[in-house]
Amino acid sequence: MSQVPLTHILFVSTALFFIGMYGLFTRRNMITMLMSVELILNSVNINFVAFNRYLYPGKLDGVFFSLFIVAIAAAEAAVAIAIIINLYRNFHSIDVEAADEMKF
């Protein structure tokens, strides 16, 4: 792994980050938006682990952070999905364009 410079890994994470963001901006299905968020969180995780591994191997701060992020991502996803399901009950659709009754 030493041959691969850190910046290349960062390239992966950053790209992933913005891909996820793009998905979040464009996917109209709420669940797919949620997936995009997960992608973003993963890119963050890659950052943490990579930095930890490459730059600061002395301590495992990054690793722990990424672990907690994983856990929280799970919780967040769960609640989000619960909310989406409830919204589906009310709107009979999970198209985000449909849920814009409150505006201006």
Binding site: L24, M33, E101, F104
Partner: protein, 675 residues
């Protein structure tokens, strides 16, 4: 020297009368209001006469008249040097004036006892009369030029109140407003004049002011050199003060209010608009006479001279055409005041022997007070009788009103300047002064005196001689448009009580209270001329040797007699001669009859110019532009808030997008641009 206590009492008593009557009059003693008011004035008149007697006594004793200030206290300290004092100045003219004012005022008070009897606002009337008397006394006694201004305003106000006494009559209200506003406009000049003079003289006290302005002193240089539009500040100051005077004294072109002021009760006209208030302007100029003639700055005196002359002539001409008895008298008043003014204008450089004009003006003021008041009071009796003041409703009254007839005749002779009546002496002095200083003015004066005689006797004959007017005069008068005083509600609410049934076949001429003043004033009109004025009233207190009555007196008298002759030819017996005369020069007659359309010019200026070109735009701008700006701000805000509402599209993806754009924006801005 009279002690100051009773001097103060002279003005304060009427004030007390005003306060008492004003506060409690209506409620508590509406009956005795007249008696109370009259009594107060009586006391102060007595005091005044006594004071005058003593003062002039001492004058004669020690050969010259001292100018003293018996009373002074600071009313308002404007700035360390400048303070408005309440002070009383004592010198020949002020003493003479307090005598005139209290005396005439007393007469009018007594007269009104009968004349205003049964009026609803009887007490108020007397309260106002007292107020006026107080203010007038304060005006003449003022030893501080600002004090003068204060009482000047008060006089104007009480005149306003009295003219508008019949407040439910629109014409009266209009007249009152007109009088107040015109004089107020003139007073503006007075005020600014005061500001200028006091600024350079550094004092408001009249004596100090005169001293500083006359003695070549420190301020003097600045005020004569400092100039505006090429005219020295001193001239500006004096000129503006004169404007104030001209306004009060109804001189051309500020005279328009005087004829309308006749809407007030006749005694009021007699007191305010004939004898006292209207001569305040003359008095004011006389007060500052030393400054006017102080050193060779005569442009202002020229103005005084010519304004006086023009007013005299103009008014006389108009008077010849008027048919409303009170208006005729009003114009004659204006003309006589014109006399006094140009008398003051006829200056001799100080240092020469005399300034005859000063004495003459004061003299004429003195005599005029008597016969003009008398004329008005007589007119009051007549109007009271005829219930109209249109001349064509009158005629042949000499049987019905013998006493009035006599008094009226005396007054006419006096004003016409027929010896040995009062008017003769004073007018002759004036003409003499004019002759010495300015020939054209002299001829104007001469011609005017002829006109005076003519219109006075025109009035006299058409009222007392000729065919008795129809009994329906009252009714006719009632129809007689706004000219006719009888038309308004006055007599219905007023003293009609005991004159209700009209005058035909009535024997009683007038109540005693109305006759008495006539008689007294008639005596005055006869004998006032014998007072040795040149010995008592002079600009510097030094007596001048009187000049005997010589050949110089002949032309005026002749002119006067000619005037009388024409008048009697035209009006003594009823005929169509006047009409033919009028028809002869119809155009000019109309022009004069409408008072040279001066009123219309004023109307045009006020209504068209001031209201439409200044007032209306100002109001419009305020509502639409200035306020529009304020509302515009609000409108812009509201518009913006609708314009940006799209940001809140309600779509969460937009929110996220904006969110990141915000971050990117901040990053670019603060990392690359701003740092």
């Amino acid at each position: 020297m009279p002690n100051s206590a009773c001097i103060i009492l002279i003005p304060l008593l009427p004030l007390a009368g005003f306060v008492v009557l004003g506060l409690f009059g209506r409620r508590y003693f509406s009956r005795f209001a007249g008696v109370l008011g009259t009594g107060v004035v009586l006391v102060s008149a007595v005091l005044a006469i006594w004071v005058a007697w003593q003062y002039f006594g001492t004058c004669l004793a020690d050969g010259y008249c001292r100018q003293t200030v018996p009373v002074r206290f600071t009313w308002l300290r404007v700035s360390p040097g400048l303070s408005i004092d309440m002070s009383i100045i004592f010198d020949p003219i002020s003493v003479m004036m307090i005598f005139v004012v209290t005396f005439i005022s007393l007469m009018v008070h007594i007269y009104s006892l009968g004349y205003m009897k049964g009026e609803e606002r009887y007490a108020t009337y007397y309260a106002f009369l007292n107020l006026f008397t107080f203010s007038m006394l304060g005006l003449v006694l003022a030893g501080n030029i600002f004090e003068t201004y204060i009482f000047w305003e008060l006089v104007g106000c009480s005149s306003f109140l009295l003219i508008g006494y019949y407040y439910d009559r629109p014409t009266a209200v209009a007249a009152a407003k007109k009088a107040f506003i015109v004089t107020r406009f003139a007073d503006l000049g007075f005020l600014i004049g005061i500001l200028i003079l006091s600024f350079y003289a550094g004092s408001l006290d009249i004596r100090t002011l005169i001293q500083r302005l006359v003695q070549p002193g420190s301020q003097l240089g600045s005020i004569t050199t400092a100039s505006f539009l090429g005219i020295s500040m001193l001239s500006w100051g004096l000129g503006l003060v004169f404007v104030g005077g001209a306004g009060k004294s109804a001189l051309f072109p500020l005279h328009i209010w005087l004829p309308d002021a006749m809407e007030g009760p006749t005694p009021v006209s007699a007191l305010i608009h004939a004898a006292t208030m209207v001569v305040a302007g003359v008095y004011l100029v006389a007060r500052l006479y030393l400054v006017y003639v102080g050193f060779d700055h005569f442009e202002v005196l020229h103005v005084v001279l010519w304004v006086g002359a023009i007013s005299a002539l103009l008014a006389a001409v108009i008077a010849c055409t008027q048919t409303d008895i009170k208006r005729v008298l009003a114009y004659s008043t204006m003309s006589q005041i014109g006399y006094m003014m140009f008398a003051l204008g006829t200056f001799h450089p100080v240092g020469e022997a005399t300034t005859l004009g000063y004495t003459a003006a004061m003299f004429h003021l003195f005599t005029h007070a008597f016969f003009k008041a008398l004329l008005f009071l007589c007119a009051g009796v007549i109007i009271h009788r005829v219930h109209s003041n249109e001349m064509q409703d009158m005629g042949g009254l000499r049987k019905a009103l013998p006493l009035t007839h006599g008094c009226f005749l005396i007054a006419c002779l006096a004003i016409a300047g027929i010896p040995p009546f009062a008017g003769f002496f004073s007018k002759e002095d004036i003409l003499l002064a004019a002759w010495d200083s300015n020939k054209p003015v002299y001829y104007i004066g001469l011609f005017t005196s002829g006109l005076t005689a003519f219109y006075m006797f025109r009035l006299y004959f058409s009222v007392f001689w000729g065919r008795p007017a129809r009994a329906g005069g009252a009714q006719f008068g009632a129809g007689g448009g706004h000219h006719s005083e009888g038309s308004g509600g006055r007599h219905s609410e007023g003293s009609g009580g005991h004159h209700g049934e009209g005058f035909v076949g009535r024997h009683e001429e007038a109540p005693f209270t109305m006759k008495l003043p006539l008689v007294i004033l008639a005596l005055g009109a006869v004998f006032a001329g014998w007072v040795p004025f040149s010995r008592l009233v002079t600009y510097d207190g030094m007596p001048q040797e009187g000049h005997g009555i010589g050949v110089f007196a002949i032309p005026p008298v002749m002119v006067a007699l000619i005037g009388i002759g024409i008048a009697s030819y035209l009006y003594r017996v009823a005929s169509d001669r006047p009409e033919r005369a009028a028809a002869a020069f119809r155009g000019m007659y109309q022009f004069v009859y409408h008072k040279f359309y001066i009123d219309e010019v004023y109307l045009f200026i006020t209504k068209r110019v001031i209201f439409n070109l200044i007032g209306r735009p100002a109001a419009w701008i305020d509502r639409n532009i200035v306020d529009g700006m304020m509302n515009g701000l609000a409108a812009v805000t509201a518009w913006t808030s609708t314009a940006i509402k799209r940001l809140q599209s309600g779509k969460v993806q937009d929110y996220a997008l904006y969110f990141f754009m915000g971050i990117a924006g901040l990053a670019v801005l603060f990392i690359y641009i701003y740092s």
